[in-house]
Subunit: 384 residues, 2 copies
């Protein structure tokens, strides 16, 4: 397998984009990535698109062919493939593109992710299609309810508090203020979170990421080609994917996301680093408890001690291990299929030194993108 | 890139499977493929699942994780990836699995395809989401209407007749009688087709494949591993994918599926054969005109002369180039996401000599799987 570099990144504004269509936002992200890489488009040899529910939100499937067409790449007839694993769809798109280049099959490949949720449909219901519809959702176990079970168990087992969870949201909102493309750019306080209404106890409104519109794109190239294109390549040193039982009740340990543990272990091995070597991370904080679990399952802390990292300020943007300097899913908005790609955009900007007001000092970054309650996990390690 | 072999195949009954669920039929196909390969399951290193519209038919996304779970493979945490390109989703699953093995990343990978359409929803509307919803479907251009335009233009340009189209359906029904898993196992006559009601003139009911339930699975392995597993490996000598403008009105020539031409040309080159070397083919006869166009765009005939092959009996099961010995989409039933995988199952059985009453004599076979009206095409060439 060859080394693969990120040579261009782009993403649209995230938020409630009532006045813009699915095609518009994907093309904006793609065009920004092409401009960033100083490519015209015809150099792209293949395209992967992560999208969870175009069929239900837009009445449109065949998403990758649609995007290849509207971006002008259908003229060249390139393979265009949509991948889906709920809100890990974006991570999958990056991974397939990575594999296509690492294997030597292609030199330059684009991975995009997008979701447009504000037009039609019931986003909460549609996003809950990431869990087992017959055995979880049917009996009321939608996404917030299942994460609430995890949160409650974590509190009972390890003494994590609602204040700890709130602090995750407060941190990510504080970071989001510095991200011009984030949906929520205002600071909040722990009290704001605690006083927001319960969605599924103990999770409150401000513990939950919003389901948002947005698109992101990254252009990957083989090492040799990357050196010709850019002076600041950021390398993907590992990109791994693992699965777990889809239903929470089938897992031996509800508080360990086995897919995250497995994908992370493999990624560290491939990148020849350990958890302690990670200097910045973008993790999947669809709910605040998910960020605490990520700390533990990625090995940033022992199991049960995730909350200590937030209490001690370690994962603050000026801490030892900044997590979600972009604002994360919470402040950026969770544009489902786009999120996994947006994370790679953020890490690339951070490692290049292009993250402006939210810049951290790092040479190694990690991204964790999760599908549903953890049935799919994608872990990427980037380095400069 | 390494050589890749098909070492196990399986598929469910195709049809209106009211009494069975999505999970049931996928597991049946997968279990049959495992039994065929004499594997237990734990040897599988990755899974790709082709499915077009689980979100709309079942209210369920995250399809690949679901299948990994229900097939017992989540225990091993293998990467499970859903791919979608309308009715080319199955072909994409095979191609991703092929790439995963050919690249050296994995030794044994399963590709499955499935669709369950009879439970809920409006299959005609849901399948039409394969075309440009904003610029085609919105103004009435659903899938039969667009293929009707192609058929009418072919008749006007090249003298193809409604009888020619009918003969495609008659041939495929005749073959389907010999396929125990086909949905429609009865012979029909040209007159039956001509007297069936118009769906979109000149296409009649019996020119159109049904939208059906079904699942199929193939297990791929690297050449070395394949030799240990089976005495009758069938090699995938090429598996290529291309795209075209999604909307018919954007294409310079409506009667040439550019994606098919491109994918076929690349496949012939990789397999080091020419069109004339193909001895059996499974092509995408979602509508009878699609099979005529396939003859032309795959190079089995010159452009405009596709109908001659059906008139002269060349593509009959006992002709020089049997096409759709399985019964094709028309007689098997078009289980959207499953079709592209079912085609590989059929070619494998044919090349192994396991096709029983529908056996043809062939060493090289080709499969063509199309998404929508040709915005995606996947061409596979198999050999023994």
């Amino acid at each position: 397998m060859r080394r693969v570099a990120v040579v261009g990144v782009g993403y649209s504004q995230f938020g409630e984009l009532w006045e813009r269509g699915f095609r518009d936002i994907v093309l904006e992200a793609g065009a920004e990535a092409l401009a960033d890489a100083e490519l015209e488009g015809k150099e792209i040899e293949a395209m992967y698109v992560g999208n969870m529910s175009g069929g239900r939100y837009l009445g449109q499937e065949h998403i990758a062919a649609l995007i290849a067409d509207y971006s002008g790449l259908a003229e060249f007839g390139i393979p265009a493939t949509r991948v889906e694993a709920a809100d890990a769809s974006g991570g999958l798109a990056v991974r397939q593109a990575y594999m296509a280049v690492a294997s030597g099959l292609h030199e330059i490949v684009i991975a995009a992710g997008a979701e447009k949720v504000t037009d039609v449909g019931d986003p909460m219901e549609i996003l809950s299609a990431s869990v087992d519809m017959e055995w979880e959702r049917f009996v009321g176990g939608n996404l917030p309810a299942l994460y609430a079970i995890m949160a409650r168990m974590h509190m009972e087992s390890f003494g994590t508090t609602e204040e700890d969870l709130a602090m995750v949201s407060v941190k990510n909102h504080r970071n989001g203020v510095k991200n011009p493309k984030a949906q929520f750019r205002r600071e909040i306080k722990v009290d704001d979170v605690l006083r927001s209404p319960y969605v599924a106890e103990p999770l409150k409104l401000l513990d939950c990421a919003s389901i948002s519109d947005g698109a992101a794109a990254v252009i990957l190239a083989s090492e040799n080609v990357a050196r010709e294109i850019t002076d600041t390549p950021v390398y993907i040193e590992a990109c791994t994917q693992a699965s777990d039982y889809i239903a929470l009740h089938s897992r031996k340990d509800v508080l360990t996301m086995k897919a995250v543990v497995k994908a992370a272990r493999e990624a560290y091995k491939l990148a020849r680093i350990e958890a302690k070597d990670v200097q910045v991370a973008e993790v999947h904080d669809s709910f605040t408890i998910a960020e605490i679990l990520a700390y533990e399952d990625l090995g940033f802390s022992e199991k049960g001690k995730g909350a200590e990292l937030i209490r001690e300020g370690i994962t603050e943007i000026d801490g030892d291990l900044p997590v979600n300097p972009s604002g994360g899913l919470k402040a950026c908005g969770h544009a489902v299929g786009a999120t996994g790609v947006r994370q790679i955009v953020e890490l690339t900007l951070q490692l290049r030194g292009d993250a402006e007001k939210r810049q951290v000092d790092a040479e190694k970054g990690l991204a964790l993108n999760i599908g549903g309650t953890g049935a799919t996990a994608v872990v990427s390690i980037l380095g400069r």
